[in-house]
Symmetry: C2
Subunit: 319 residues, 2 copies
Amino acid sequence: PDSAARQVIAARDATLTKPPGSLGRLEALVAWLGAWQGRPDPMLDRVRVVIFAGNHGVVAQGVSPWPASVTAQMIGNFAAGGAAINQIARSAGATLRVVPLAGLAPTADFTQAPALDDDAFLDAVSAGHAAVEADMDLLCLGEMGIGNTTAAAAMAAGLFGGSGHDWAGRGTGLDAAGVAHKARVIDAALARHADVRHDPLAVARCLGGRELAAILGAVLAARHRRIPVLLDGFVCTAAAAPLACLNPSGLAHTTLAHRSAEAGHAALARALNLSPLLELDLRLGEATGAALAVPLLRAAVACHAGMATFAQAGVSERT
Amino acid sequence: PDSAARQVIAARDATLTKPPGSLGRLEALVAWLGAWQGRPDPMLDRVRVVIFAGNHGVVAQGVSPWPASVTAQMIGNFAAGGAAINQIARSAGATLRVVPLAGLAPTADFTQAPALDDDAFLDAVSAGHAAVEADMDLLCLGEMGIGNTTAAAAMAAGLFGGSGHDWAGRGTGLDAAGVAHKARVIDAALARHADVRHDPLAVARCLGGRELAAILGAVLAARHRRIPVLLDGFVCTAAAAPLACLNPSGLAHTTLAHRSAEAGHAALARALNLSPLLELDLRLGEATGAALAVPLLRAAVACHAGMATFAQAGVSERT
């Protein structure tokens, strides 16, 4: 990050007509945007939402109440403008791109085999990397994939310890018995891949999925291009988590936009020391939580750019 | 509220292409807007921010690090477009109106006398009432008044019990010694007006201020006109609180937009059973927290109005 930009931003902030610090996290957001964009006047002209989509072999274990065919159907819905993220992205002034991975071919059932082999994992990471063009001011990441909260929970357990019970949640709408079954499926996967525990990239390959690997690739590419990133809910956070395990500052260019209602997300955010901007009980994915936070960043940037200084406004400073 | 509109909204929500409940509080916000607007298709075309401004005699007790002259200076800054709320309101697509009360004449120092006499209190309530025109889809309320977190803390103690220590906060930037002094000033006011404790309107008159009384009047008028209201931080919430004390559903047409970093606000929100939409550590007032939440409502309404149904999109429902 650009510490000179951060210093210019802090110096201007101190002159604006408000008590110091009184805009709270909005002030920190401007400094974060400016530091990663390398601009003392952060921009949000080109805000892009990217959704990666994939299917999951573990769906064969009955971990979702929805059929896997919904993944492809929802891609059609995104294209037609009918999904929640279409409305929220437009409302936020962001453009939307959807990237289906490997023709939506499912991963292997990770209770039986690694979800992906080396080539398939790298292909998905590369697809995520390639989706990050240089001309973005902010990247909002999200996903679609029936069964992927099971993969996210398995990855969280593989990276940070704990069992299926600790990380499994309702996903798209399981009842208590369904969550208990999902936890047992995750435990089976953890037992099957006990050798990769705490090896971040191997966890992502064996217990993740294509859209999760693509998110990892996109977060990496954004770091190279110095594009700030808003992370969406549980799946998106789990997908990016290996980067924090590999490097303590690996997610410094990201902000967690929303803490999902999905059970494991609060614990995962704590493990990563990420403080969400929003907590509105969404549990939809599709980057909805990320896009919802964009107007907060716009407001923060508007305050920094547009407010008068004490001198300009003739307002007395504190005594 | 219009329960027919609420039912139509719930019925449509159940058909939209998302797991039931997965948009969390966004779904509840649409139902709340529609029920109060009396529309199954809630609108946010005319969003108005109103800031009431007043001065406080208790400033003579040294409760703020800023001179009282800042209240008038900030009204100039609002008019010139230089304050934080100007940027945030524009960013949210809301219009801004500022209403200075009684020529910014200060209230009486409430450690010595009631802040307002009956006529002055009713004048301020009426001014608030009159500021609510019929043609609003949503009203965001806020305030400006050097010293008014002291009045808000005194009102909270007067309505809900406790001492100055329990409710005093840093306001616009007191240090620990300043907060302790502020708490003692509040205790003196509570002792002076012990006879009005738990009498909601008398508490508002004796321990409040003109801009707080105007907020009370505006919240009342919005109830009559069935205009949903977003409440800003600690001062705004304290100002509206007497209506909840008079009637358990007195604030049902309001939503608390932001939980302020001001110390007493979390406790006050709990006492009123209000769950804030945002927690971003703002402590500025000016309706900034309320206006920041407007895009969340726009996104919620956009989802409800614009999403495809399962039938329209050809998406399978859960098994």
